[in-house]
């Protein structure tokens, strides 16, 4: 029977010929991921279970990236607990300090997650790795604890939605805009429990960074995973990074979908998601006059080198408006070094930006750029919930890096087109 790429990866990891949507399976895990916020609960559950060692020290990956560099004593205690566990277990992949990058940018960059993998992570944006053609989904800490012990996870095989993008992307339209537009169309629960499969000529032409951005926000539509079939772009990205074998899967022509939606991207403008849900999208042209206090360019959604290049191209020779705090957060040490080598830091510093070390920081209102009561930010991040970046009466507007950069210069939400 024909299967989707998601069904094929799940079947392979459950040692099955075939799986169908709705079935419960027990699947083998290639990577189990945790961070400084979610791992402490998992480690506590691990110890209480009486387990002594993780199932595979190469496959349990811990990254202290959320509240680092440690923002306060409690955060420092959590990171200490994670570090101790990682050392005691002899984990191959524990990242902190100058080796640390935002997990969902770092793992693809280092070749730790690969096409065809089954990945679970105690972080909802684990779905990012679908951009590589992996099945990857977010779980809670208890699931992570169980996975660290057994190397397995129980999963319900999701139905798949096939999302086709055809046509030609307009100027300033990036992967971020395609996923925001989709979420605006189907809503924050439009893909609840489902797999979102991104396809079409526009996806084929999209960079790996753009694909990772799109898969990253699949959770913002309620999806279990987002996925792009791997191709030559994927091969070019993983070759030289992969330290183990990987496999390309693709959906059969006759595979079954719960829905097929086709978008002409020629009709999609750069998008802005208004407070307080990612589904509150509109064209940047229809944003109106909204003054802003802060711009954040970074995160697991848009902190890659391509994103910083987009922002720098808009900012070159310009300055952020007087009352706008511009914060740039390269997602990994590799991105940081590359941006420095390309001279992007000069552009950012000349524009009046603060350049932060890699951290999730302000995206979830942790630190490094918290909003006061009544303040507004444009951010390249993934969520604009109430209080997400600080005070419960602050506001976050989601956009792509070039729109965020242009907004910093304009002092209000606006398009790069307005700076030409």
């Amino acid at each position: 029977m024909p299967m989707t790429i998601t069904e094929k990866i799940l079947a392979a990891h459950a040692d099955r010929e075939q799986v169908e949507p709705g079935e419960l399976i027990n699947a083998r895990i290639d990577v189990a991921l945790g961070n400084d916020i979610t791992a402490p609960i998992a480690i506590d559950a691990f110890r209480k279970s009486g387990a002594v060692s993780v199932f595979d020290r190469d496959k349990v990956v811990l990254v202290s990236d959320h509240f680092v560099p440690n923002k306060d004593i409690r955060s420092a205690m959590q990171v200490k607990l994670v570090r101790k566990f990682a050392r005691e277990q002899g984990l191959t992949h524990y990242y902190e300090g100058g080796q640390m990058g935002i997990e969902h940018a770092l793992l693809p960059e280092k070749g730790i997650v690969l096409p065809g993998d089954l990945v679970i992570g105690a972080d909802s944006h684990t779905c990012t790795y679908g951009g590589l053609g992996a099945f990857a989904t977010g779980v809670g800490s208890t699931d992570l604890a169980a996975a660290m012990i057994t190397g397995e996870v129980w999963l319900k095989v999701p139905e798949s939605m096939r999302i086709l993008f055809h046509g030609k992307r307009g100027p300033w339209v990036e992967g971020k805009d395609l996923i925001l537009y989709l979420i605006g169309e189907i809503g924050v629960d439009g893909a609840l429990y489902k797999a979102l499969e991104f396809e079409g000529e526009v996806i084929e032409e999209l960079s790996m960074a753009g694909r990772l951005t799109m898969a990253n926000m699949a959770i913002e539509a309620g999806a279990k995973n987002g996925i792009v079939a791997p191709d030559k772009t994927t091969r070019a990205y993983v070759s030289g990074r992969a330290q183990r074998v990987y496999q390309f899967y693709k959906s059969d022509a006759e595979a079954r979908y719960s829905a097929v939606i086709d978008y002409d991207v020629g009709k999609i403008d750069p998008q802005v998601a208004f407070p307080h849900l990612p589904e509150n999208t509109r064209s940047v042209k229809e944003a109106g006059n909204i003054p802003i206090d802060q711009v954040v360019i970074g995160s697991c959604t848009n902190g890659r080198i391509e994103d910083l290049r987009s922002a720098a191209a808009v900012l070159a020779g310009k300055k952020a408006a007087a009352d706008v705090r511009l914060i740039v957060i390269p997602a990994t040490p590799g991105v940081y070094r590359q941006a420095m080598a390309e001279g992007l830091f000069d552009v950012f510093l000349d524009a009046g930006a603060v350049i932060s070390p890699p951290t999730c920081g302000p995206c979830l209102g942790g630190h490094m750029g918290i909003l006061a009561q009544g303040e507004r930010a444009v951010a390249t991040t993934n969520r604009n919930f109430v209080g997400r970046m600080g005070h419960p009466e602050s506001e976050v507007y989601l956009a792509n890096p070039s729109v965020a950069a242009a907004s910093a210069v304009l002092g209000r939400i606006g398009s790069p087109e307005e700076l030409r």
Binding site: T38, D44, G50, A51, S124, T142, D189, I219, F385, G387
Partner: protein, 168 residues
């Protein structure tokens, strides 16, 4: 677990995990600390006024957003006995079962208001509004989830395997 009676705290659609427990408090995983800030940005004073056994009732997509298990932990530690919603975001749904917070899906939560008293019969899958005596049926808990609940949650299930020397 057969029947519970409690007062309703009503919330709307798409209650996200940042509303349930803001990330600014995630520098600890202590349940009592988390409980102090439960639903803080959705309804200030919730944690002081909620009584043991009270029931959270909401619209669609409850628990969307982050995977933080701190969310069901905070709700449970605040004394809430059950969450009833039209639908749940998938990671929250999974987490709730894994750590033993009872949750039920009921399409008719629009009828239920803050302060009303509910009796929930888990075995029968029936919610009764004690004022109006109106009864609402809930979506049955999938058999696999019932097994997890019967085992006392996922880790108890795993602990048995560890003790038997089958893993870990």
């Amino acid at each position: 677990m057969d029947k519970i009676i409690g007062s309703v705290w009503k919330f709307g659609d798409d209650v996200d995990t940042d509303l349930i427990i803001p990330a600014r408090y995630l520098n600890t995983s202590d349940p009592q600390e988390l409980a102090k800030h439960c639903m803080e940005d959705a309804q200030s004073g919730f944690s002081e006024r909620v009584r043991p056994g009270d029931i959270i009732v909401a619209g669609k997509n409850f628990g969307c957003g982050s995977s933080r298990e701190h969310a069901p932990i905070a709700i449970k530690a605040a004394g809430v006995s059950c969450v009833v919603a039209k639908s749940f975001a998938r990671i929250f749904y999974r987490n709730a079962f894994n750590m033993g917070l009872p949750i039920l899906e009921c399409p008719e939560t629009d009828d239920l208001v803050t302060g009303s008293r509910l009796c929930i019969d888990f075995d029968a899958g029936i919610i009764e509004d004690l004022q109006s005596a109106k009864k609402y049926s809930t979506r049955p808990i999938p058999p696999f989830m019932q097994e997890l609940l019967a085992d006392g949650g996922l880790m108890q299930h795993i602990a048995v395997r560890v003790r038997e020397g089958r893993t870990g």
